[in-house]
Amino acid sequence: MSTITETASPYAESAKPLKPKRPGLLARIWEHRVSYLFIAPFIITFVLFILIPVLVAIGLSFFSFNAISMPKFIGWDNFLAILTQDRIFLQYAIPNTFKFALIVGPGGYMLSFFLAWLIHQLPKAVRDWFTLAIYAPSLASGVAFAVVWPVIFSGDRVGYLNNLLLSWGVINQPVLWLQDPKYFMAIMIGISLWASMGVGFLAMLAGLQTVNKELYEAGAIDGISNRLQEIFYLTIPAIKPQMLFGAVMAVVGTLKAGQIGAILAGAPITPQYSGHLIINHIDDFAVIRYELGYAAALSVLLLLLVYGATKFSFQLFGNKGDE
């Protein structure tokens, strides 16, 4: 890279005499101003919509703020309350989130990989159609949550699931699926799995197509005897970057989920907190109780959680050193 610049750049002449003195930071930025121009759109939106809000949220988490009067500084009190007094958080939100995230995250992730691999085995002509069919739920999920699923799980006899089970004789009476805390979480998990084939899935599918065919031939010669070995020893190492991307997306996606419970229950709070996730808890405090400082503190905790989980994914799939 640098060699090319030196030979090709018209400034090469003038740059040479300065070489002994290392230029200052600002000067170097100025020198590479065109590159900064290129990343500007991302940096500006990132700072504006991610970095600043996150910093503000962290700041706000040390205040008590009710959306109307001036925020009041209260130090660590919010965090203290979360960890010592918030029964709903400890009793429902945390266990529910973990249960949900552990099943939907890795579950959806493995499912994505498995389906991507499966589709990859198909002839090219039909592959795109299957891809579309599997990817579509994650696109349409918002609408589908609101329209399709409540109908399927409707509590009267006309609900699809009830109707089917009744006609098969599995149940004798309609079940109030979306009101019964026993089923609520399971339904949430099921639907989320259905909708989890998102960008991660696409990335893995794309990754699979980049794997060099010769690798497999070489593998076969070197003694790989079945498909499973092929996957473990060749495919997965070959598409590690895509696997990482998929993992991060899955982790962040599941921890961020929360909307689904509210949609299924038709109210911001799920029946007996059975589907109460951290995000719902944040919503509850921010929009219903107007305790924005407390909600900010909760979001900070969630952010830490996401950060930790992402780090863990890097541990699993990241490039150790420069491979």
Binding site: D156, R157, L166, N172, Q179, P271, Q272
Partner: protein, 999 residues
């Protein structure tokens, strides 16, 4: 054991066989009254409106059937016969002379009850038409409805409710413009004056109805159903049906067309804008602003009322009139530019009459076929050739009436099938002894037992075949009416027929899938809902000499493209926010639709500003969250309207609102509102809002079904338990909104919070009683727990009684014409107190107006809020909004006096007023949102998980208290350690209040 079961079954079977032998419908007779069997066969034949399992024993036959009956016996009277008239004041008898007031030849019938009779002497046997010269007697924007009896009996079912339309015109017209250059929707002003109409029902027949008379003296009795009226004359006249165009032109020697074609000058044409009506029958027939290429006139990107109708011109019997003038005697062609994208693959129908009557039979059912773009339709005869209509020089009136007559046979057929289905269902239920329809559709039945149903009901297959055949035939009939392509209804009918055929072939399975019947019925009924609607949107009419160039209706590609491009560039030049920003004015943010907001602005400009000199900017807030976000950003209005009931207290706790009780005349102003409503806006010795609208809960019931079951609406819940067994035994249900806990808590004398507002009061014994009563409704008494649409069940009749709120009331009143007059409302059942008064406490949704604390125009804002909630303004707003948009926009104002000035049906108003006396909503305290959440959890535990009721409630109390405690610390009512620093005051309301004397 087994033997006893067999014996019982045998007994049931024998009984049902006997009943079956008498007539199919007799089996559907739940009570088993012997008198009912006589009409047995009649019932299934009659096009019954209600699809209830065993409704209506003494049903009338429909108009069509009656006419068929008379077809051979009675001829239409000969057209030469003169009219036989009776003066309005010359009535022969009335129900109660006090209701009638004669003056000259007219009579004022100042009531919507009672009846009046006139005598007429008919010269010869035959079918006649009845005409009436009438006028309205008040300004309510709803139809006048009368039943018509001949010699003391309704000759057919439709005679029970004959609608007499009022007439309206637009005022002002052309419409005024607002500050942004948009048209302001003109009001519909009723036009008084005698109206001479032949009695008609455009649902069943596009012409006037015909009435059978024999030679001699007869009485015609009008029975009041709705609205007072004035009557000048009633007359019986011989039908004068128009000739068909083919006949008429044959008589004229077919010369008309050539005559015109021979004209030497340019053929004459005039275009009449559809929006420029001279009269219309309903306030709800609306002007529309349509932005399409080639529309006339252009909208220029603003709101320009340039078309008429659409969804707002769809009910049969609604009409609109236009005036036009032709330059000379001659023949003319008449046509319309229309858009009918509403009825997928169907036509919408209109009857066109000119100067009072259709000229030819071909104008009685003019079909406007489905099309996705604007089309021209010139009135044509059956062969598709444009009709040349002879018109004399001068002014003419064209009236267009929506008619559903062509589709009505299908509608009736579906109803008939639904009736048969339910009769069949209840017959099967009698055999199997399974009457439990409440929640579990298979109910108390043993699923593993099977029935040789075809043995017990030998005619089972035949009865099912009748229904299958009918459904298939209807579907075929629809196929012929369609404009190409299969319609959704057609498919639905076929699916139902297939399902039935499947059941017929497997009769053994039927008893275990009885739910299929109600499923079929409900799917059929969803199609019924809008089947009779006939929406069409009109741009203009044209009257032209044959051969004239008719302006093109459908835009070509380039015109459409050009239109889109111009619209796009307009978004740069027009500020579509339409925010009014007059400096120095008070800012009012309203969380309602544009229509409401515009009217508020208009009223304020008209009466408030001239009176007080205060200018007002009324603007829309689409999302209530904006108040919070705006607050955080420091953008605040002075006054906000349309605020939900929890928000004022929430904002007040945080110090964002002005305490209205700080104004000296607050007491006087608040005296117009119910204390049970005001207490919602009370927080810590301050009052922060005035209610604008206030809902109510009432008990709605089907009079026909209740009467037949011998039931009366329950006064108390104990009465309701008493009637429940009768209802459920007959396969009916009672509807109770599942989570309406407040009604039961308040009626049992419980309160939600202690007097100091610091603790939940649900740990009282009374609260436990109330909550247990609510949960037992769904456990012990098995009321349905999940009813997505009570409205549909109510129309269908399988839930003939239930509790509805204001919106469902309006829906039932205006969207269910087929049960009009067959239902009534009553106050909620209550609990009888020690001194014998039935306490009916219940709540209702509210919206309120508030003033923000940061306003620098406190007094102006208060003046505005006072003006807005005053009796005069609220009554005016209520009537105006109905005049503009129709009676569906009923304004349920919270102002108790203004409420009575709106056009409620007199009977209903009495009931609603009685119920509103007992209005009580939940007070708001910090952390109060946990009460409803925890009660819902408790309901869930008690009903769904069948846990102990008391435990569930106690957990709710503990959790609620915990949250309240936390919130009290936040708001400084408690110290961190828990010592109470400050006590709140929660107003209690224990006495009903009718708005007369101040509390």
């Amino acid at each position: 054991m087994l033997r006893r079961v067999r014996a019982t079954v045998a007994l049931i079977v024998t009984v049902s066989l006997i009943l079956l032998a008498v007539g199919p419908a007799a089996a559907s007779d739940g009570g088993g009254e012997a008198g009912a069997t006589a009409q047995g066969t009649e019932v299934t034949e009659a096009g019954r409106i209600d699809g209830a399992p065993n409704a209506g024993k003494r049903e009338q036959s429909s108009y069509r059937q009656t006419m068929k009956q008379f077809e051979s016996k009675l001829q239409p009277a000969s057209p030469e016969l003169p009219d036989i008239a009776a003066q309005g004041s010359a009535y022969a008898a009335v129900s109660d002379p006090a209701l009638f007031e004669r003056s000259g030849e007219e009579v004022l019938w100042n009531s919507d009850r009672g009846w009046a009779e006139w005598n007429v002497t008919v010269p010869e046997d035959g079918l006649y038409e009845i005409g009436i010269v009438y006028d309205s007697a008040n300004d309510f924007a709803v139809d006048i409805v009368r039943g018509v009896q001949i010699d003391g009996a309704y000759p057919f079912q439709e005679a029970e409710r004959i609608r007499l339309k009022r007439a309206y015109s637009h005022d002002p017209y052309p419409p005024e413009r607002d500050d942004f250059g948009n048209d302001r929707r003109p009001q519909s002003q009723e036009v008084k004056g005698w109206k001479n109409e032949l009695l008609a029902d455009y649902d069943v027949n596009e012409g006037p109805l015909r009435w059978p008379f024999t030679k001699g003296e007869h009485t015609i009795r009008l029975v009041a159903e709705n609205q007072p009226m004035k009557i000048k004359q009633i007359y019986v006249s011989a039908p004068k049906p128009p000739p068909s165009y083919a006949e008429a032109s044959a008589q004229n020697g077919g010369g008309t067309a050539q005559e015109a074609a021979a004209g030497k000058e340019e053929p004459w044409i005039t275009v009449i804008e559809a929006e420029k009506i001279s009269r219309k029958s309903d306030a709800s027939i609306q002007l529309q602003s349509s932005d399409y290429p080639l529309i006339s006139p252009e909208t220029d990107g603003l709101i320009r009322y340039n078309s008429l109708g659409g969804e707002q011109f769809r009910q049969s019997g609604q009409w609109a009139e236009w005036e036009f003038e032709v330059p000379k005697d001659g023949v003319y062609q008449i046509g319309f530019k229309y858009l009918q994208t509403y009825l997928n693959n169907f036509s919408a129908y209109r009857t066109i009459s000119i100067d009072g009557a259709p000229l030819y039979r071909d104008m009685e059912q003019v079909a406007f076929p489905y099309d996705t773009s604007w089309r021209n339709l010139t009135l044509s005869d059956s062969s598709g050739e444009a009709m040349s209509l002879p018109l004399a020089k001068g002014k003419h009136t064209l009236r267009m009436t929506a008619t559903a007559a062509p589709i009505k046979p299908v509608y009736d057929g579906i109803l008939r099938s639904m009736d048969r289905l339910s009769a069949l269902e209840s017959a099967i239920r009698k055999v199997t002894g399974n009457f439990d329809k409440s929640f579990t559709d298979n109910g108390n039945i043993d699923l593993n037992r099977d029935w040789e149903l075809d043995k017990y009901m030998p005619d089972l297959a035949d009865r099912m075949n009748v229904i299958i055949d009918e459904l298939t035939a209807l579907s075929d009939l629809l196929g012929t009416l369609s404009t190409g392509g299969k319609s959704d209804v057609e498919n639905a009918l076929r699916i139902a027929a297939d399902d039935l055929a499947d059941m017929r072939d497997h009769p053994r399975d039927i008893p275990n899938e009885l739910g299929k019947f109600s499923k079929m019925q409900s799917s059929l009924s969803t199609w019924l809902f809008r089947m009779l609607d006939q929406p069409v949107l009109f741009d203009y009419l044209y009257v032209a000499e044959p051969g004239a160039d008719i302006p093109r209706a459908t835009a070509n590609f380039f015109e459409s493209l050009g239109h889109s491009i111009v619209s796009f560039f307009r978004t740069f030049t027009i500020d579509y926010d339409f925010r009014r920003k007059e400096p120095g004015a008070i800012d009012v943010w309203v969380n309602r639709g544009r229509d409401y907001v515009n009217l508020i602005q208009q009223l304020a400009d008209e009466t408030f500003t001239p009176e007080t000199g205060i200018t007002v900017n009324v603007n829309i807030v689409p999302d209530p969250q904006m108040f919070i976000l705006g607050n955080a950003a420091g953008i605040q209005p002075d006054v906000a309207l349309g605020i939900d009931s929890a928000m004022p207290a929430d904002f007040a706790m945080r110090g964002a609102l002005l305490d209205l009780s700080s104004f000296a005349d607050y007491g006087e102003v608040a005296g117009k509102f119910h204390p049970g409503a005001l207490r919602v806006f009370h927080y810590d010795r301050g009052d922060y809002a005035l209610p604008e609208i206030q809902g109510f809960n009432v008990l709605a019931y089907r009079t026909d079904i209740m009467e037949q079951l011998g039931l009366t609406p329950p006064e108390t819940w104990d009465d309701m338990y008493g009637m429940l067994s009768t209802l459920q035994q007959n396969g009916y249900d009672f509807y109770l909104p599942p989570k309406d806990y407040m009604t039961f808590l308040f009626q049992n004398g419980a309160e939600l919070y202690t007097e100091d507002g610091l603790k939940s009061a649900l740990d009282s014994e009374k609260a436990y009683q109330g909550f247990r009563q609510l949960t037992e409704m769904f456990t012990l008494y098995q009321l349905p727990r999940d009813v997505p649409s009570f409205f549909n069940h109510f129309r269908l009749g399988d839930m003939p009684i239930g509790i509805i709120d204001f919106n469902s009331y309006l829906q039932t009143e205006f969207a269910a014409p087929e049960i009009a007059g067959k239902w009534a409302i009553a106050p909620l059942p209550g609990i009888r107190s020690a001194d014998g008064v039935v306490e009916r406490w219940s709540g209702g949704a509210m919206q309120a107006g508030v003033i923000f604390k940061n306003t620098d125009k406190r007094d102006d804002a208060w003046q505005f809020l006072k003006w807005w909630t005053s009796e005069a303004t609220q009554a005016r707003f209520g009537t105006d909004i109905e005049a503009i948009f129709g009676p569906e926009y009923r304004w349920n104002t919270a102002n108790m006096k203004a409420f009575t000035r709106l056009p409620w049906p007199a009977e209903d108003l009495k009931v609603i007023q009685e119920q509103r006396k007992w209005f009580k909503e939940a007070p708001q305290v910090p952390g109060g949102y946990f009460t409803s959440r925890q009660l819902e959890f408790a309901w869930n535990k008690a009903v769904v998980e069948k846990k102990n009721v008391r435990e569930a409630l106690e957990q709710a109390v503990i959790d609620t208290n915990r949250e309240m405690y936390r919130k009290q610390i936040e708001f400084g009512l408690r110290e961190k350690k828990g010592t109470v620093l400050h006590q709140l005051d929660v107003p209690n309301v224990t006495e009903p209040w009718d708005g007369e004397e101040s509390p």
